[in-house]
């Protein structure tokens, strides 16, 4: 029991460290897409670790914390993908040095042919 509690607290602290890392990444990264990457990865792992940690400290809540964690792990990448795609479509191009961009509108046929 004491082992579970200790493990839980360690996971909570590690998780909050990752959350801080994600926030730092959002402030320090140079352009939008790098910020999205840093933010999503770090906050997702931070949230997963902290929330499961709470479930380990108090095992009665474990199932509930598990489903909150699953929900966050499922929705966070979807949300950040949605932001990235919409910013690309609205004209915010990433700073590319190597000029490799296979997602250019002219490279793929556009599905928005049915505009009103």
């Amino acid at each position: 029991m004491i082992l579970l509690t200790t493990l839980g607290y360690i996971m909570i602290i590690l998780g909050s460290l990752f959350l801080l890392l994600g926030a730092l990444g959002i402030v320090r990264m140079p352009d939008l897409y790098n910020r999205i990457q840093a933010g999503t990865k770090a906050t997702t792992l931070g949230a997963l670790s902290s929330i499961i940690g709470v479930g380990l400290v108090n095992p009665n809540w474990f199932f509930k914390t598990l489903i909150i964690a699953i929900f966050i792990v499922l929705t966070n990448p979807i949300g950040s993908h949605s932001i990235a795609r919409s910013s690309y479509k609205s004209g915010l191009k990433p700073e590319l040095q190597s000029e490799i961009d296979e997602y250019k509108p002219e490279n793929i046929q556009d599905e928005r042919s049915d505009l009103r």
Binding site: L17, L19, L20, G22, I26, S82, I83, S87, S90
Partner: protein, 83 residues
């Protein structure tokens, strides 16, 4: 022990809030909003441990769901703005 965690989480909130207010483009603000809401969900879950109160878990779940929806709404809006 949890006080230390709260300090870390508040630092993270302040940092992403900085990006939220500064962020040159609106997409940057949405990214910051996404991060802020995830951090607040975690804050609610850890608070439920701190106050030993089960009900904050429910609130955290609903908050996460609503913030996800808001992010999708805003990004759909940004995407449609240029069509």
């Amino acid at each position: 022990m949890l006080n230390f965690v709260f300090v870390l989480i508040f630092l993270a909130l302040i940092l992403s809030g900085f990006r939220f207010f500064k962020g040159p483009s609106s997409s940057d603000r949405v990214v910051a909003l996404d991060t802020l809401t995830t951090i607040i969900s975690v804050l609610l879950v850890t608070s439920s441990l701190f106050f030993d109160n089960y009900i904050l878990l429910d609130i955290s779940f609903v908050f996460a769901a609503l913030s996800f929806t808001s992010v999708i709404v805003i990004s759909r809006y940004l995407e449609g703005g240029n069509s």
